[in-house]
């Protein structure tokens, strides 16, 4: 509403009270207009607010729906979790059962281990006792069995020396049998003792110059019978990880046998070397009298001989000793031969 201010510029043409009233009225009208404007503004604001409220309400409803959805989902999840829990419980129960079984098995095992340990201890002490017995046996053999032989040999000789004029040739021959038998039995006793000593001896592993050891043994053999012509062919630079004393015994027996069984050969040849191939084996080869392969299984048995004492002397313990030593060093030994064509003895030292 516009108020004409020009009317207010004419106070002198109307009575003053009327003018005041008119003025007041105009003011009221003016105020009313202002109120109206304000009301309109308020109404507009209220409308705005209501509109906002509706929007909020819609949003709240959305949120409520979302919440309900979440609650639904939660129920589903809760059900799943409960199911999973049930499964876990049953698994746990199964596990407990399994654990108990395991514990029982462990208890049983412990008992069995204890039993086994006790058995092993028992076995060990039995073995130790057997070993002690064996040692005292061989001690007794060593001391007591030789003395009577000495008497048999010594007094047979004494008879020949002191009463020779009263004995005829046959009596002297019988006495010589007693002597040679006593001496043979003395050697057998020594060999038995050596064989049992090999089984009991402690093994000291060492890097051994095998070629040099073979040369030493060959030299000993040459010196023992300098009149013989024997060619030793020893492969150079052979090394072995083994017990030196036991290896020496092996070579003394194998080279010694080769030396003995080439005795009738004008040009004896003895070879020591190692074979090529997947499983290299040491070998001792000779061109001596050889042997029939039909008897190959007898070679390494103690006191088994393939020759009479007149042909070749010996007690039949050498190769048995070799086999025991090679066995203790973790290898194996075997032989090839033909009658009249020499023999080859092979051996390995460690099972791979």
């Amino acid at each position: 509403m516009m108020i004409d201010t020009s009317q207010q510029q004419e106070p002198d043409r109307r009575p003053p009270q009327l003018e005041d009233t008119q003025l007041a009225l105009l003011n009221i009208l003016g105020d009313f207009d202002a109120e109206k404007t304000q009301l309109e503004q308020t109404q507009t604001a209220t409308f705005n607010i209501l509109e906002d409220f509706n929007q909020e309400k819609a949003r709240l409803e959305d949120a409520q729906r979302a919440l309900l959805n979440i609650l639904d989902d939660f129920d589903v999840e809760k059900a799943k979790v409960e199911q999973a829990n049930l499964m876990l419980q049953s698994k746990s129960a199964e596990l407990n059962v399994a654990n108990e079984e395991l514990q029982r098995a462990r208890d049983t095992l412990e008992v069995r281990v204890e039993q086994r340990t006790a058995e092993l201890q028992q076995r060990t002490s039995e073995l130790e006792a057997a070993n002690r017995e064996l040692e005292s046996f061989s001690y007794s053999v060593s001391h007591d069995l030789r003395a009577p032989l000495r008497s048999m040999d010594g007094f047979s000789l004494a008879l020949v020396e002191d009463y020779g004029d009263k004995l005829d040739d046959q009596a002297k021959e019988y006495l010589s049998y007693i002597r040679s038998s006593s001496q043979l039995m003395g050697r057998l006793i020594d060999d038995i003792l050596n064989l049992s000593r090999i089984t009991r001896a402690e093994i000291h592993l060492d890097r051994v110059d095998f070629s040099a050891l073979a040369e030493e043994v060959a030299e000993e053999l040459r010196r023992a019978q300098p009149e013989r012509r024997v060619e030793f062919v020893i492969a150079p630079h052979l090394e072995a990880l083994a017990d030196r004393n036991l290896l020496r015994l092996v070579l003394q027996n194998l080279l010694g046998n080769a030396f003995k069984f080439t005795g009738s050969r004008p040009a004896a040849r003895i070879e020591f070397g190692v074979t090529a191939g997947d499983e290299p084996a040491y070998f001792v080869r000779d061109n001596g009298v050889g042997f029939d392969m039909a008897y190959a299984n007898k070679l390494f048995k103690p006191f088994q001989r393939l020759h009479s004492d007149e042909e070749f002397s010996g007690t039949g313990v050498g190769l048995a000793s070799v086999q025991r030593i090679i066995g203790r060093l973790g290898g194996r030994v075997w032989a090839e031969g033909h009658p009249g064509e020499g023999a080859v003895f092979y051996f390995t030292l460690h099972r791979s």
Binding site: S142, H143, R146, A147, R150, S151, D153, G154, L157, Q183
Partner: protein, 149 residues
């Protein structure tokens, strides 16, 4: 040489006879005292028992000691010989049947002077006795302590 006594400690009479025979063959004419077990040997050396009153300063020139003996064995005899200051320097030759490693170790630990194994073959045995006689009765100079001048 007759003043030099040999003490033979040997329980086997056949071995005693053979040892004497071997010595005779090598012309060893020393007086031989035979002890038939360890106790007799110690009695002789220390002047006790059947040898009570014997002049213990008179030591034998050599003791030939068997190991397997009744009552007290050879190793124990050797131990007591070495434990006594008077008999400590006495030459002791172990003359026995065995060469068991345990015997060898024990005897050398107790400072035996030699260890000889009696061979079965009498000719070899006689040779060993001859060598022992030559060495201990002729070549070896004993310790002076045993006998007063």
């Amino acid at each position: 040489m007759p003043d030099k006594i040999i003490l033979l400690v040997e329980d086997n009479p056949a071995d005693v006879t053979l040892t004497l025979r071997a010595m005779k063959r090598s012309n060893i004419a020393n007086e031989m005292v035979v002890a038939r077990d360890g106790v007799e040997a110690l009695d002789y050396l220390f002047g006790t028992g059947q040898y009570a009153g014997r002049d213990v300063a008179e030591l034998p020139v050599v003791v030939l000691l068997d190991l397997k003996l009744p009552k007290i064995d050879g190793i124990e005899v050797l131990r007591r010989i070495r434990a006594n200051p008077v008999t400590k320097p006495l030459p002791v030759v172990v003359l026995t049947s065995s060469r068991e490693p345990s015997d060898l170790t024990a005897c050398y630990d107790l400072a035996c002077n030699s260890y000889v194994r009696k061979p079965v073959d009498f000719n070899q045995f006689a040779e060993a006795v001859k060598q022992l006689g030559l060495y201990w009765l002729v070549l070896n100079e004993p310790a002076a302590a045993g006998k007063p001048p």
